[in-house]
């Protein structure tokens, strides 16, 4: 079933990618690529530019230099939209709306993965019982799980996960690792930032290190 991979460009690659804020270099130039089924771990201390890197990759910030490729073709900011899903520090969800309303709104914006519904996605992350509760009544860890449900619900093959392990208990950390593994098995790819405190499930995952 697997076609040979040699002729196929990696899902995502960055070439000489750099970002500066007010002429102050934040990271880069960086060269890396992520193939389908691969996970790339981005390590670095606080303030080393991990979050900024993910925001640049998602298309939320313009890169100062360098190029970004999807499937070997240069991808501008708009052509990346919908293919990259960002799990950031901000939930991207409204506190007054219920879990279901938030997820259904996002599915309206992005579309949804084949056969996946808001209900099914919340069942995967163990918050189906809170489906109709306003988001503000959930704990920080539960909100994180809702954000993970969003990853499952929305289509998009590149996951950009910014500190996905923060606020999660041990089961939550395992859940994140299971979700990433499942996503990679479906042919997706993930970039994960970490300040290095959490052990990462996939020992084969490649690392890049940011830092001054």
């Amino acid at each position: 079933m697997n076609p040979p991979t040699a002729t196929i460009a990696p899902l995502f690659s960055a070439h000489r990618l750099a970002f500066s804020r007010n002429d102050e270099p934040v990271f880069g130039p960086l060269d890396f690529s992520v193939g389908r089924g691969e996970t790339l771990l981005i390590e670095g201390d606080n303030g080393s530019g991990k979050t900024t890197l993910l925001r640049v990759l998602a298309g939320m910030l313009p890169a100062s230099a360098g190029d970004i490729f999807f499937d070997g073709t240069p991808a501008g900011r708009d052509s990346r939209n919908g293919r990259a899903l960002l799990l950031g520090h901000r939930s991207g969800m409204n506190e007054s709306l219920s879990v279901r309303e938030n997820l259904e709104f996002l599915a309206g914006l992005y579309g949804s993965r084949d056969g996946m519904t808001a209900v099914a996605a919340t069942e995967h992350v163990d918050i189906a019982g809170w489906l109709d509760e306003p988001l503000r009544t959930l704990s920080a860890g539960q909100k994180k799980r809702v954000a993970l449900a969003r990853l499952l619900l929305l289509p998009g093959d590149l996951w950009l996960l910014d500190e996905p392990y923060a606020n999660l208990d041990r089961h939550g950390i395992e859940l994140v690792n299971t979700l990433i593994a499942g996503h990679c098995a479906r042919g997706g790819a993930a970039l994960v930032t970490s300040h290095g405190a959490v052990r990462f499930a996939d020992p084969r995952a490649r690392h890049i290190r940011l830092g001054a």
Binding site: N81, E101, L109, A189
Partner: protein
């Protein structure tokens, strides 16, 4: 040879990103629905500006004396200004919570035209803040002895002027979203832009009051509204990008 490679790539893309992409119309409907649900949850807050407009209107007879002729002559212009001032505070918060909780980031990353989402937000904002004001206009008009023949023209002028104000306000609100305590700043930026809107709307009301044809100023308002519907969402989208980037 290359075509087989291409089809293999397509196959892999299909396996990786399986799922239906949302259409722009569906996305706008989802956003409209969400905004209206949120507004309904906070319906008590939506009622306050109406109360404010009612009280301010009631102040005029007290301040100017209960002279029906004087009140009737100034009623149209007074109500117009009251509507503009009542709409200001809500415009300030048009994008603020969405910027703070990251919803705007999702707008940017979604495969949808940002300007279209901005226009949808304008429509939702108009429906929840301006439309109720227009609905209570007969009541406010009665408080000021507004002549019956002027009321339909006032309502018509407001139906054209208020969307225009929300469109102008959306651009400024997006620009100011990143700054804290921008309420008075937004008012200072928006009110000069509102001057032509007020002039044309007041022109129509004055013409109706003196029995003259009032279509021309209304047509100008309509033309400005059409122009703003096309241009303001684009400017608003650019401002939203700046707000999310900074």
């Amino acid at each position: 040879m290359s075509s087989t490679a291409q089809s293999m790539t397509d196959d892999r893309i299909a396996r990786g990103a399986t799922g239906a992409r949302a259409g722009a119309a569906g996305a706008c409907m989802a956003l409209l629905r969400r905004d209206l649900v949120l507004a309904w949850r906070r319906r008590g807050e939506l009622f306050l500006p109406l109360l404010y407009a009612l009280i301010v209107t009631a102040l005029f007879p007290f301040a100017l004396g209960p002279d029906p002729q004087l009140l009737g002559r100034i009623a149209g212009g007074v109500l117009l200004v009251i509507v503009v001032l009542t709409m200001l505070p809500a415009l300030d918060s048009m994008f603020r919570t969405d910027l703070e909780d990251g919803t705007l980031e999702q707008w940017l990353l979604a495969p949808q035209p940002l300007a279209l989402l901005a226009l949808t937000r304008v429509i939702a904002h108009w429906l929840t803040t301006a439309l109720p004001l227009i609905v209570v206009m007969p009541l406010l008009g009665a408080l000021l002895d507004l002549p019956a023949k002027v009321l339909p023209v006032l309502v018509l002028a407001l139906l054209l002027a208020t969307p225009l104000l929300v469109l102008l306000g959306s651009v400024l609100s997006a620009l100011a979203a990143g700054t804290r305590r921008s309420g008075i700043l937004l008012a200072l930026m928006l009110l000069p832009l509102a001057v032509p809107v007020v002039i044309f709307a007041a022109g129509a009301i004055a013409a109706a009051q003196s029995g003259m044809p009032f279509i021309a100023p209304l047509t100008w308002l309509a033309a400005a509204l059409i122009l703003a519907i096309v241009l303001a969402p684009l400017a608003c989208a650019a401002a939203l990008r700046i707000a999310v980037e900074s």
